[in-house]
């Protein structure tokens, strides 16, 4: 009952209306039964076409009736005469058009039109484009019609450039047209693949950036353009993939900056001729995608790290690699954007989109030197846009963790596993995907943060951690606390955790020498709960 207002009526009125409705429903049912009877008897004639037509005009979503009409169109009677068939198909187009006028969002009708036009010998695609044009004038967000237009454009062999011009017109008419921006992104991908950010496409890219800037400055409160802008700006980021490779005992561990699948992950030994596919990679989280993958080499353990190469997505990595060179792309466009949007913040101090854009640009340009500005903008956003305060808080947490871990992230081979990582008192609500950087740390302090039960799963990465401090967080349950095989000292209190739950954790870690501390009654924690 989308958008139907509930209206109060008198009892009398209601009774009359109900009786009328019932009468119509009975008539409909009689027609439906007759149609099904004729269909079963193979009477796919004009009479059946007529009955179904009348019913569908008012009830276009009764999908079975469209199926009956398709059967009529495919029947021997019509397929034996080209003339009759063409006429019937044209009639069907007229019926769907009439139905669409009544109900422009009916899935069944749009599909019927597509099905029919594909069977017409020489379809008039111009007419179809005109129909779309008209329909989009009435409702420029009707996604059925946009889909149909894309179908027609493909059939009529319109070029992506033609269509791009079409969206430019639409956007210039009205910036607030998300459907047009969406189509534009698709067309640009068709034209340039996913290399829109490449130097070769610099001009195209800059034009888009300018178009968006024009739109955001014209109406800064319209949401559509800001999503498009985020997409464009993301092209600047070419994040490195692999973070580090470690060899220890008989395991080789590879940690990535993001979650990847092992399908294009290979291990090659320099002194052996093989394709590197015989190793079976295991993911730390037990899933098909993971930031951490390892291989058990068994007896084949190499003497040193120089003996092997890890290949990922066709690119080779070894521990002796030089660090990734900084991006050599021209950042002047990005810097120009930053100063423009800083200006927009001055003009519109309460506009959250401009603020978020500035924070995002600063993150992309130089996360570290812009750190304090980014933090203060995100803190402002929590105030300006309270509906999404948790989104900004998670973003803040991620920035803070990354900042703290900066030396580890930039030089994974330089850090000592015994370094204590201090992430305390940062108001963290999440580790934000940075937990994999803690894979090889043995001592982690997370006390005095805002971590809740929902993010405990992130700790699964801490398999080397011996000492973990979680005191003074927002924990009330440990149900999703993972087993950490090396954990010896866990500081849990104060938190709203019952002794029972804490003892469950001890049980789960049965084989280990785990001690839970921080409880006011330390002895109870150490001794009683171990039983």
């Amino acid at each position: 009952m989308h958008g139907r207002v509930k209206v109060r009526t008198t009892e009398e009125k209601e009774r009359i209306m109900r009786a009328e409705k019932q009468k119509k429903a009975r008539e409909f049912k009689d027609c439906y039964l007759l149609a099904m009877k004729m269909r079963k008897a193979g009477e796919l004639d004009d009479k059946l076409a007529d009955i179904t037509k009348k019913m569908l005009y008012h009830h276009p979503d009764v999908y079975t009736l469209w199926n009956v009409r398709r059967e009529i169109l495919l029947s021997d009677r019509l397929s034996s005469s080209e003339e009759l068939l063409e006429k019937a198909l044209e009639d069907e187009l007229a019926l769907t058009e009439a139905c669409l006028r009544e109900n422009p969002k009916s899935y069944c009708v749009w599909h019927q039109r597509e099905w029919v036009i594909e069977r017409i010998k020489e379809p008039n695609w111009k007419k179809e484009l005109a129909l779309c044009q008209k329909c989009l004038e009435l409702d420029e967000r009707n996604f059925h019609c946009w889909d149909y237009r894309r179908f027609v454009a493909r059939k009529a062999e319109l070029t992506p450039t033609d269509e791009l011009n079409f969206t430019t017109n639409k956007i210039e008419n009205n910036f607030s047209n998300y459907s047009s921006w969406h189509y534009r992104s698709k067309l640009l991908e068709q034209l340039h693949g996913n290399r829109l950010g490449d130097a070769a496409n610099q001009q195209v890219y800059n034009n888009e950036i300018d178009l968006v800037m024009n739109a955001t400055f014209t109406d800064p409160s319209d949401t559509s353009t800001w999503f498009y802008q985020r997409w464009l700006l993301n092209y600047w980021k070419t994040p490195p993939q692999l973070w580090c490779i470690k060899l220890h005992k008989n395991f080789i561990t590879v940690v990535f900056h993001k979650q990847v699948s092992s399908s294009s992950l290979k291990l090659l030994f320099k002194d052996k001729q093989d394709d590197g596919c015989q190793w079976s990679w295991q993911s730390a989280n037990g899933k098909m995608y993971s930031p951490i993958w390892f291989v058990d080499l068994g007896d084949l353990k190499p003497e040193n790290l120089d003996n092997f190469i890890v290949e990922f997505e066709g690119k080779s990595y070894s521990t002796s690699d030089e660090k990734t060179l900084p991006d050599s792309r021209d950042v002047s466009k990005l810097e120009e954007q930053l100063s423009n949007y800083k200006e927009l913040i001055e003009l519109e101090p309460s506009n959250k989109w401009a603020k978020l854009t500035v924070a995002q640009l600063m993150l992309d340009l130089d996360e570290n030197s812009n750190y304090s500005s980014i933090i203060s903008i995100l803190e402002e956003l929590i105030q300006v846009d309270p509906l999404r305060s948790n989104y900004y808080k998670d973003m803040l947490s991620k920035c803070k963790v990354k900042h703290k871990l900066n030396s580890i992230i930039s030089d994974p081979y330089g850090f000592d596993k015994d370094t204590a990582i201090d992430l305390s008192s940062l108001d963290l609500t999440t580790l934000g995907g940075c937990e994999s950087y803690l894979t090889f740390c043995s001592k982690i302090d997370l006390q005095c943060n805002l971590l809740s039960n929902e993010v405990l799963y992130q700790l699964y990465c801490l398999q080397q951690c011996k000492s973990l401090n979680l005191s003074q967080n927002n924990l009330t349950s440990l149900k999703s606390f993972p087993i950490l095989h090396n954990l010896e000292n866990l500081v849990l209190y104060p938190n709203e955790i019952t002794d029972l739950e804490a003892s469950d954790i001890l049980k789960k870690h049965a084989t280990k020498k785990l001690v839970i501390t921080g409880h006011s009654d330390e002895e109870l924690t150490k001794n009683e709960m171990k039983k």
Binding site: G3, K6, W115, F143, S176, S185, Y391, I483
Partner: protein
């Protein structure tokens, strides 16, 4: 209590001459019965009547139609299977044939057609994959291709549309995430971008819309919230305002829910309002926990040992024992 009356009346109608909605009857039954189950009232419906009706809706080809004398379609096939799971009565229908029907709907590019007439939509991918998972027969179709089709529907905003090139829409995002959740491929999603887009669906009224610049609607509470839950980012919207909006959409007279405050109620919005409240952990009503992927009560999932993935789930760390020992020497 009102609520129960409303759903009950609706379910009563299911078996009466409720003609004008007959083309979506089995789906309607799924909405009503799920709502009854999560409000602890499933027992009020005559199980045998439901089962015998569903049996009559299965066709020779194996597919299930919306009602008797209505053609088979994946939409209704899924609804029927979901209902049969509630009654632990999958043997009511011919399982081999329904598997065959679903299998035949997969196209070369991995997509699924809704029925033999060829309409392609990511809704049908979800229907097919969820149905087969409930029947424990996922291996019958090409999962890799099904996933790659979903991937081809991904958009600039991280969302998904109904087919390649189509605009993102919360309902279709739910279907695509559901498919990826069941098949264990959630990480192809750009979770931060999509999570942000979904969080931006919340409007000052607290309600959620399904696309930018659109009106709020209770059914999007479900599509958006279930998606955020699957992404492990349910906290990115304001829970209290959301709950209040849903409660405003409840009709004091009948107990049912409408799309927006003051509109006509229906079982579709009633189910999605209730499910959203359950997902948000609303404790003032006694609601059973709902599973975000299947929109079915969690206890049914547990009984069937089905564990659709979420980005915030790490089930096992046992296999890490040997690897974790690397620092022991």
């Amino acid at each position: 209590m009102y609520l129960v009356v409303s759903i009950y009346n609706f379910c009563y109608f299911l078996f009466q001459t409720y003609i004008m909605t007959e083309h979506l009857r089995i789906s309607g039954m799924y909405w009503g019965l799920t709502a009854l189950d999560i409000t602890h009232n499933l027992h009020k419906i005559d199980k045998e009547e439901v089962l015998s009706f569903i049996k009559q809706c299965q066709h020779e080809c194996g597919g299930i139609g919306a009602s008797i004398l209505h053609d088979p379609h994946l939409l209704h096939t899924l609804s029927a299977i979901q209902i049969l799971c509630y009654y632990k009565a999958l043997d009511t229908i011919n399982v081999e044939k329904v598997v065959e029907y679903i299998k035949n709907r997969q196209k070369d590019d991995g997509s699924f057609e809704g029925d033999k007439w060829g309409e392609i939509d990511t809704r049908f991918s979800f229907c097919a994959i969820a149905s087969l998972a409930l029947l424990n027969r996922l291996n019958e179709v090409n999962i890799e291709k099904a996933v790659s089709f979903i991937k081809s529907c991904m958009n600039f905003d991280g969302g998904f549309g109904s087919k390649p090139g189509s605009e993102s829409h919360a309902g279709l995002i739910y279907c695509c995430l559901g498919t990826l959740s069941i098949t264990g491929h959630l990480h192809i999603v750009k979770a931060d971008e999509l999570g942000w887009w979904l969080a931006e669906r919340q409007l000052p009224s607290g309600g959620l819309n399904g696309r930018p610049e659109k009106l709020p609607d209770v059914c999007y509470s479900w599509w958006v919230l279930a998606s955020l839950k699957i992404l492990g980012r349910l906290n990115w919207i304001n829970t209290n305002k959301m709950i209040n909006f849903i409660l405003y959409c409840q009709d004091a007279e009948t107990g049912g829910f409408s799309d927006r405050p003051g509109d006509m109620v229906d079982p579709f919005h009633t189910l999605f309002g209730l499910s959203a409240l359950s997902l948000l952990g609303y404790t003032k009503a006694d609601l059973k926990t709902i599973n975000p992927t299947y929109c079915m009560p969690q206890y049914i999932m547990d009984e069937m040992n089905l564990k659709p993935d979420r980005l915030d789930l790490v089930e096992k760390t046992d296999h890490l024992k040997g690897w974790a020992g690397i620092e022991e020497d």
